[in-house]
């Protein structure tokens, strides 16, 4: 069993809990302070349609160079106080760590050029892919895939990354099934037991790599987990309340990175980041309306209310009439950040936060559970748990309670079918035994096709 940390909330007063400021800001050598009072844009971009091979790598690098040039020059044009670039490496660039390193060098090179020529402050987040899946995987912590992830992390760290992140996937196969079957106990197992243990092992290593290279371990996200259920809920494929419960449970898993030493900014697509910020005081990156290029969502505004970096999630390098799409995203992020920073300077940060929250939180359960006061209430329950397993169960129970109360009070629109499923999920939750070992044994038995020996879980 992995030890939990953070037995008290970083925030108890909701009036201190706001965008642009975190209890434990990240101070960068270039003068940027993330969570230190200023909201920064975080631009993420990816390749257009093309193959990544030995032969195409020169074209791949040229694409990254073009994108970062466009993005940085927009940063200069709109006089941003600083910015982040995130590169989520594509699978071939983690399977071949050297390719990931080459991408890092090219991107960082352009960023340095703009720092020298135009005084543009910028930080680079490199996010290797968690390639620990697929037909040939034998073990999560040794063998080819593990080595590829670690070698890519090390190579990025040594060649220009300022922050390391990953969208880790320990427990994802179990979680996928739990979403397709809206099986809450299986979700609890995949997140609170398998996922948390995997995070601990993975992030202990990433923290070491960052320290060895004098850069920062930033954080993880529940992209493969709660984002899957959020998209499924958004399309009405599963109840939206499942996605909200799943999101809050994911906070426990994502927090393990911070327990291992990650300092933020937590990664954009982890909407559970608001819980991470509440519990640990770590600054967070968030994505919302500007990220419509990457996925539509029901949290386009509320996601901005507590953000310390503001991201477009990702956009491919295609031409729009105004500019290449990454540059378009950068312009949109920069204007949003201007709005937020001016509001803060004028003393209207809390009003701005609440306007953004109230524009979304009535219409969708995930939007609702991102409401600052709700976050603090549920987070306050979560930290009472003494193990990750316990905290994950508490997260689910507290979310069900909050959603039901909100729907009854008229502060959240929930149809009768959604309400019915709240009851079903509560029953599912109550069926989980208190004993972690017993639950684990049950789950291993009930899921014979998953080899948990790979995780050293038996």
């Amino acid at each position: 069993m992995v030890a939990v940390k953070f037995t008290e909330l970083a925030y108890t007063n909701v009036d201190e809990f706001v965008y642009g400021s975190a209890k434990y800001p990240v101070k960068c050598a270039n003068g940027m302070v993330i969570g230190g009072g200023t909201l920064y844009p975080e631009l993420n971009c990816t390749l257009p349609m093309m193959l990544i091979t030995e032969e195409t790598m020169p074209k791949v690098l040229a694409q990254y160079e073009e994108m970062i040039h466009g993005v940085c020059s927009m940063g200069v044009e709109l006089k941003v106080p600083g910015m982040l670039v995130e590169i989520e490496l594509l699978p071939p660039c983690t399977f071949n760590p050297q390719w990931g390193i080459d991408v890092t060098k090219v991107v960082k090179g352009v960023m340095k050029e703009y720092e020298t020529k135009f005084d543009l402050k910028s930080m680079l987040r490199m996010t290797p892919v968690d390639v620990r899946e697929g037909k040939t995987l034998k073990h999560m912590y040794k063998g080819v895939e593990w080595d590829q992830v670690m070698d890519t992390m090390k190579g990025c760290a040594a060649n220009g990354a300022d922050f390391l992140s990953i969208e880790s996937i320990g427990g994802k196969h179990l979680h996928d099934e739990s979403v397709m079957n809206i099986d809450l106990p299986k979700a609890v197992f995949s997140l609170g037991i398998v996922g948390c243990r995997d995070m601990k092992i993975l992030w202990d290593e990433i923290v070491k790599i960052a320290a060895a290279n004098n850069i920062l371990p930033a954080g993880d996200t529940a992209c493969g987990f709660a984002n899957t259920s959020m998209v499924m809920g958004h399309k009405n494929f599963i109840p939206k309340v499942f996605a909200a419960i799943d999101r809050v449970m994911c906070a426990v898993r994502t927090l393990v990175a911070v327990e291992s030493g990650a300092v933020g900014p937590d990664k954009d697509c982890g909407y559970e980041g608001v819980y991470l910020k509440a519990i640990s005081g770590t600054p967070i990156s968030m994505e919302g309306r500007v990220a419509a290029c990457a996925h539509s969502s029901a949290v386009g505004n509320v996601s901005l209310a507590l953000a310390d970096c503001w991201s477009n999630e990702s956009v491919e390098n295609v031409r729009l009439l105004g500019n290449m799409a990454p540059t378009v995203s950068m312009e949109q992020l920069a204007y949003d950040c201007r709005q937020m920073n001016v509001a803060k300077d004028k003393g209207f940060a809390l009003q701005m936060r609440d306007i953004l929250v109230e524009s979304d939180n009535k219409y969708d359960p995930t939007a609702y559970i991102m409401t600052p006061s709700v976050v603090l209430r549920i987070a306050g329950e979560i930290i009472k748990g003494k193990t990750h397993f316990e905290r994950t169960k508490i997260a689910a129970g507290a979310t069900i309670t909050e959603l039901r109360a909100a729907a009854k009070a008229g502060s959240l629109e929930l149809g009768p079918k959604e309400m019915k499923y709240l009851d079903i999920f509560e029953k599912q939750l109550n069926s989980i035994p208190n004993d972690e070992a017993e639950f684990t044994a049950n789950m291993i038995k009930a899921n014979p096709k998953h080899d948990l020996g790979m995780y050293n879980i038996s």
Binding site: M49, M50, P91
Partner: protein
């Protein structure tokens, strides 16, 4: 005529025990086995598909209905006369080489099964040769390719080329889908069609096979 409404309702409710019970009763009542399947089980599944399409059922509910239907079919199938068939044809589905995205493709497979097609899901990261082998082994008429990355789109083209090289491109229709796909791309790589979602994929398959 036999009243199939109870059997269909059991399928819709995803009540596997109920389906087995009522199907057994129909067999005992000497109802034509093909009629039990078509007018009872598949009729129920058609309702499920239609309700899912208008957001009136969730995926897990559909999966339970599908499981109940399959249990019923398994019970009745041995009684069919030779030559009678219970599916509209076989679809091979998978995510192409280099791409590990699973769920979108699984949903398409689910909807095709709901609509009476036999589906062989090869999973993710599937090579052209594996598609070829599966088409041959299952006498399939449709190959459905999925990808979610801009950097794996061109593997769809490669897969279609492998089908051609192996001489089976003319025997099958190839359809494609996934977040980065457009109709234009579908045309350019020589596929037979593209759909934006699972319901659209069913319509497309139906059109291509008729």
């Amino acid at each position: 005529m036999f009243d199939f409404s109870g059997l269909s309702d059991a399928v819709i409710a995803g009540d596997e025990d109920g389906v087995l019970d009522l199907a057994q009763k129909a067999i005992s009542a000497k109802v034509d086995p093909l009629s039990i399947i078509n007018d009872g089980l598949i009729a129920g599944m058609n309702v499920v598909g239609a309700r899912f399409k208008v957001n009136d059922m969730y995926v897990p509910e559909v999966l339970m209905s599908a499981a109940a239907m399959k249990a019923g079919v398994a019970l009745v199938k041995p009684l069919l006369k030779s030559g009678e068939t219970t599916t509209k044809g076989t679809v091979i589905i998978g995510t192409v080489t280099g791409d590990l995205h699973d769920i979108g493709k699984s949903l398409v497979g689910m909807m095709l099964e709901c609509s009476g097609y036999a589906v062989v899901d090869l999973g993710v990261d599937v090579s052209g040769d594996d598609f070829v082998a599966a088409v041959k082994a299952n006498d399939a008429r449709i190959v459905a390719l999925s990808c979610m990355l801009t950097t794996t789109m061109l593997q769809m083209k490669t897969t279609i080329e492998v089908l051609a090289t192996q001489g089976i491109r003319k025997n099958v229709k190839v359809i494609i889908g996934g977040a980065p796909i457009t109709q234009e791309f579908a045309d350019n790589i020589g596929s037979d069609g593209y759909a934006t979602d699972a319901a659209g994929a069913v319509d497309l398959v139906t059109k291509l096979l008729n």
